[in-house]
């Protein structure tokens, strides 16, 4: 009697494809495939990532469809989209006696923060990178100085800028005073709050954009610069028409990282405003989510906000990944 395993192995090995030139492919048994043979190396990390990242995301999505609130276990038998209806239109959900306001305000703030922060950061990073790229002296020193803020945690930056924005002793107001603009309330000023947060984040992360652009600039062969010069292009024209278009990849990659950072500005707001309450004009989805989940115990509703935030992040990352895929760079 033949061993069933041997039979199986033989069956698997029998599968051959006829190539166009009449021969057969060299593929042997499935067990001989590269992907299978290398499984001990890639499988464990993939299972771990699958479980703890994608598994957690999937669980969170399911959780957002429940009515889970307070203590106990979520009830997975009755799933519905009530939390999303509440998130978009407000109202009194079945799991609460209180009216819950919709998330538009914090969603809008999130988008404003994301766009203003990323765009300014990129522009500033590009200018810095071009300047640093001019073969200046102490280039390494400048590079380090510009990059250093990024090594600070959000908590440190928030406390630092809280001090900088101080109406009476802060450097920002001293500077404004020197140019004749009277002391301005910044931290609790509804018109400036979000801008102040964005400004501090730009200070922290434009160095990162600079580094990415610098790497991009260095990857452009010197001949491109020389050719543009020979053709009589001015410096401005040379960068605008020849160099910057080649920085597309660098721009997109920096943009993705920066937008993801701006979605995570929670720690900054938490430290600056001493809690989950930055106030309506600086409230972002992340702070709203934490308030719902951890102050109120509305786990399912907090999960729904998390999913919305996740979709926003995905909406930014997906086109990028897709374009990379199309260009064969992934």
């Amino acid at each position: 009697m033949r061993n069933p395993l041997t039979v199986l192995k033989r069956r698997l090995s029998e599968h051959r494809e006829v190539r166009t030139d009449g021969g057969t492919t060299s593929a042997g048994s499935i067990l001989d495939r590269d992907s299978v043979r290398s499984a001990p190396f890639w499988l464990p990390p993939f299972l771990l990532i699958g479980l703890f990242i994608y598994g957690a995301i999937a669980w969170n999505i399911v959780l957002s469809l429940t009515d889970f609130q307070g203590l106990g276990s979520p009830d997975y038998s009755a799933l519905d989209f009530e939390n999303y209806v509440v998130a978009f239109f407000g109202g009194t959900p079945s799991w609460s006696e209180l009216t819950v306001s919709p998330i538009w305000n914090s969603a809008w703030n999130t988008v404003v923060l994301m766009v203003s922060f990323s765009v300014v950061c990129l522009a500033l990073g590009l200018v810095l990178a071009i300047l640093v790229d001019q073969e200046i002296r102490f280039e390494n020193t400048f590079r380090t100085i510009y990059l250093l803020p990024m090594s600070l945690s959000f908590v440190v930056t928030a406390k630092f800028w809280l001090y900088m924005y101080n109406v009476e002793t802060g450097l920002v107001n001293l500077f404004l005073g020197a140019v004749g603009v009277g002391p301005v309330e910044i931290v609790q000023n509804p018109d400036l709050k979000l801008a102040a947060v964005a400004f501090a984040l730009i200070w922290q992360f434009s160095g990162y954009a600079m580094i990415v652009y610098l790497a991009g600039l260095r990857a452009i062969p010197t001949s491109h610069f020389e050719a543009a010069r020979v053709d009589g292009a001015s410096t401005l024209r040379m960068y605008w028409r020849v160099i910057i278009p080649q920085l597309r990849t660098a721009t997109v990659s920096a943009l993705v990282v920066l937008t993801v950072f701006s979605l995570k500005a929670f720690d900054f707001l938490f430290s600056m405003y001493g809690g989950y309450q930055p106030g309506p004009s600086a409230d972002i989805l992340a702070t709203r989510m934490v308030r719902e989940a951890y102050s109120n115990g509305n786990w399912a509703y907090g999960s729904a906000i998390a999913v919305i935030l996740f979709i926003m992040a995905l909406a930014i990352v997906t086109p990028y990944i897709y374009s990379q895929y199309k260009r064969g760079e992934l």
Binding site: Y54, G72, T99, S253, E329
Partner: protein, 468 residues
Amino acid sequence: MLIYPMIINVGHGHLLSYCITAKIGRFRADTHGDNLMTDKSTKLSRRTVLTTTGAAAVTGLAGCTGGDEGSGGSNGNGSGGANELELLHAWSSGDGNAAIAALIEGFQEEHPDVEFAEEPVDGAARSNLDQVVLNKLQANDPPSTFQLWPGKNLAKFDGAYEDIEDDVWTDDLKENYLAGPQEQAQYNGSYVSVPLNIHRINNLFYNTAVLEEAGVDPASLSSASDVVSACETIAAETDAVPFAHQTSGTWSTVQLWETILLGQAGIDGYEAFINGNGDAGQVQTALESVVELSEYYPGDSSSITFTEANTMVMDGDAAFIHQGDWAAGAYSNADGFNYGEDWGQVTYPGTSGSYLLNMDSFPFMANNPSPEATRQFLSYCGTAEGQVRFNAEKGSIPPRSDADVSALNQFQQDQFEDFNAADNQPPSVEHGLAVSPAVKTNISDAFSSFLENYDAAATADALIGASN
């Protein structure tokens, strides 16, 4: 080529950029080299990978949900002997840490057989502690007891307590706790926790020298508007800031407003508000008083913390501060800043007869890992001796009206006298006793908006709407 590692390493952005810095020299020469990644075999295995990932996600999900139901059976009778008492608290440093150590030491003198698995939850933030407890309860592994604001805040762990009226809340406790604290120890009518200490919210602290310079007599103030006129005098007569206050976070302003509301609307108006039947007019009037006072805040109130505001009073840079009596803890620790001489305290003008409560308590958790030891410990927390030990270090006062407070400092003794003489002991809104956690979040939301625009009418609407 360059982009690939950056996406993966979003979380460690800064570390990574250093790698990039180091590599810049090499990138200058290396313009191409992406072909490797587009190899057909790589693509093929990527599909395999995606499938596997999907499968893993499903498995993970199943694992998680399955685990949840499975843990129900274990009943959380975890490690340690039956007598090991798991006490969670956030008093990980300073006076709080000394206080809990003194309490445990006193308890162990009487019950040397009880072991403590004491775990200060770091970060000193109460919200962090609540989170740890929530996680433990979700995993069906409750602690024996933990530091918790009682009152309506007990709703946060609804259903996780056990009644201790028969074992701990003896007639001795019921006779010696005043009505206010006793009510806060109950949840839905049953005794589930033992209050350990009381901080008072309706205080007005002052720097004596500054008030003398301005010619203001604190004892003569009798309403919230008197405080405003006193501030006006101080602003005119001295260089000091009349009213030290921080506005970067909402909590100080909520405290101030609730104190003024208590003074203006009286105990009935205050209780109506916390029960969800508040009068919009009264709420708005109290907010308008806060707006008037805000004229006398430090110019940089939005950039400072409570500690800095309090230091202004100690340094003679500010005249008044409204705070809970933990502010006095800083004064007691300062050299040459003495109670009665350099600083003083009056009941916030308008609220005489009330002792606005902020308390910590220890609840008895159902499914208790050490039921007998926990009952013994909670009973000890209910004794005058245990409470005096704790509060001597903490700077608050014992909830038992029969406690012998001669071991406490003069300020605490005076507060204790006020406490025993008070007509009522209403619970604080900001400190979780008066309203459920979700309503408190709505109130904080309303105040985060108030701090931006000081719009009393809109905030009053939001506050009235906070409980429905």
